[in-house]
Symmetry: C2
Subunit: 367 residues, 2 copies
């Protein structure tokens, strides 16, 4: 056995129930991973996060490099202790920031020079540095440094990004020095299936612990994304875990699970929570709306989260209205729990061997 | 028996252990009451607040009148449900805002017209309105509307404030319409002992459920305050609970307990927490200090709070440095727990009949 076991393969689609083994515990898949950018899921104490059902948490290498610096995290006992999260942790490589902070970067075939968005300091990242930093952080799952091209992107640049991603993956594999950490390769290639195929086949030769599908949810739209995910997932080894990075809405996740994806991360539950937008099966609830002023109902009557068990829409609206921190915190908690419950229902539908039908029903919701 | 029972009277000073009965449960005194201005202790979920050991929470009538409005709180099920706090609640009367927002008020012998600091709306408060609003909020302990003079204050205005406070207390007593709520009178009079004496004796005639000492901690200094508290407490009936409003530092509280005070409220633990200042027995720890960057120790090694059990000074400093909400939240939690532990130690020292000596030892600390 490797680090990933398929517990059940749905017979009606590619969806599968799995179990991923990490140095800090097991992760049931399909799994949703909340984002703790600089060492915290914004406003949420680890104890509260655990109560939402979260098992795996992501932190951003690039942000941690800038502040407080990798050395400080090390001196404070490593990333788990630093964040007070004793369960599985995943770090990204910084590659995504090449894309999201592109005005502050200079890329060549070796790597990327960033200008810190905090103080203008120059920071250099390449395949080896990204691995070394993640080795030092001590996260359980680490990612190869990749180049995420924008959308749309001309053919030459897209090909160049794939070439670099493959080259950097080879170097990352070489550089990786901590056998307790799972190393994942990242498949790039935009929505170009030939490039995705080439990238996937090169990465598979390197035999990573898991495979991520990167470079999506950058403007290509749901249908392009799902088509690309579906074709790319089919190119990856069945018995390795598959991770769709930075995705997404409940509808995105359901469709990607049907295509055989096992792992997801996304800022939506917390970002939307901070912006007073609550996920419900009937579409988003805008907490600030005047309609909620005197509404004694929770966000969702059937929800078992701390927010819904304790606070009315009226109180939540008031908290946002007066700028009380509890507003963003409570709606974030609701949204995080909403996502974890969605994943539990996904796992359940797969185990019942009914995922394809269940997914069709779910996608009728206004997610 | 009334609503307050003295469990133990220290023989070396005026300090006493008591038990206050409210409609939402018992309160062991001396007690410290955190402040949930507009329905929340800033950033702290009620569950977390309970874990700090808090039993009694204060909310501000004036702030709730402005937003969301008393009618909205009623429609959302009353203040307990609104805040999701099923334990004892105390509301102030709005009287303190006559002082703290004095540039926005117009006071006469009947009451006060406020100009809302939010939207400029005119709001009228007098003895009857303040009681009616608190009756509608449904808090367990409500306060008479009083006039808190500034410090220093000329004799004529100080006398006028006492006259009004007495007059308004008589009207409040008449207006109070909910026997489930304890009504406290507020003794004013600055640091003028003759005026304090007159005010206290007039209020005692009205036989309130408890007596507050108001108008202190407004610039008169620790020694003036404690002298005034000590003299005023001696004028109040022994078997009624005594509440020193808006106080204070650990040293203030210890000295006031020695003078026979039973209840305290103050913004210090949360305000200082938000400003990265942590209470310790060795004086304040400034969390932002560079000295903490790589410090793996918690704020206090011996502290049993969630923050100290889980986070290093280094991580806390980082959270403040990157603007992560968890910084203010965690240090607020520590400070709230610090205050509750201080009160538990105070109650313990009284029960051991050693409070006077214990207090002298404690006051050597750099609180």
């Amino acid at each position: 056995m490797g680090n990933f076991e398929i517990v059940w393969q749905d017979s009606g689609c590619e969806a599968r129930r799995g179990m991923l083994k990490t140095a800090h515990g097991y992760v049931e898949t399909p799994v949703f991973c909340p984002i703790g950018t600089t060492g915290a899921v914004k406003g949420i104490a680890p104890k509260q996060l655990k109560e939402t059902g979260a098992v795996l948490v992501l932190a951003n290498t690039y942000h941690l490099m800038l502040r407080p610096g990798i050395e400080t995290v090390e001196r404070l006992g490593g990333l788990h202790k630093f964040m007070s999260w004793n369960g599985p942790l995943l770090t990204d490589s910084g590659g995504y920031q090449v894309f999201s902070l592109s005005s502050l970067t200079r890329v060549d075939d070796d790597g990327v020079e960033f200008t810190s968005h905090v103080d203008g300091a120059k920071i250099y990242l390449n395949a080896e540095v990204a691995i070394r930093m993640q080795n030092r952080l001590g996260s359980d799952i680490i990612m190869c440094f990749d180049q995420c091209p924008p959308f749309p992107c001309d053919d030459r640049r897209l090909r160049q990004a794939v070439d670099r991603t493959v080259l950097w993956a080879q170097r990352a594999k070489q550089a990786h020095a901590n056998p307790d950490q799972l190393l994942f390769g990242v498949v790039q290639g935009g929505i170009d299936l030939a490039l995705r195929t080439r990238c996937a086949s090169e990465l598979v030769k390197l035999d990573f612990d898991g495979y991520a599908i990167g470079g999506l949810s950058v403007g290509e739209g749901h249908n392009n994304m799902i088509k690309t995910v579906s074709r790319t997932a089919a190119l990856l080894p069945k018995h390795k875990v598959r991770y769709l990075m930075g995705v997404g809405t409940p509808a995105d996740i359901i469709a990607a699970v049907a295509a055989g994806v096992d792992m997801f991360d996304c800022v939506l539950p917390t970002r939307n929570g901070r912006n007073a937008s609550a996920f419900t099966e009937n579409g988003p609830l805008r907490v600030r709306n005047n309609a909620n002023i005197n509404d004694p109902e929770p966000i969702q009557a059937a929800c078992d989260c701390y927010c819904c068990k304790n606070f009315s829409r009226g109180t939540l609206r008031h908290f946002f209205n007066v700028g009380e921190m509890l507003g963003p915190i409570l709606v974030s908690l609701h949204n995080l729990r909403f996502y974890q419950r969605l994943m539990a229902r996904i796992r359940d539908a797969i185990e019942r061997n009914e995922f394809a039908d269940w997914a069709v029903e779910q996608l009728k919701n206004d997610y």
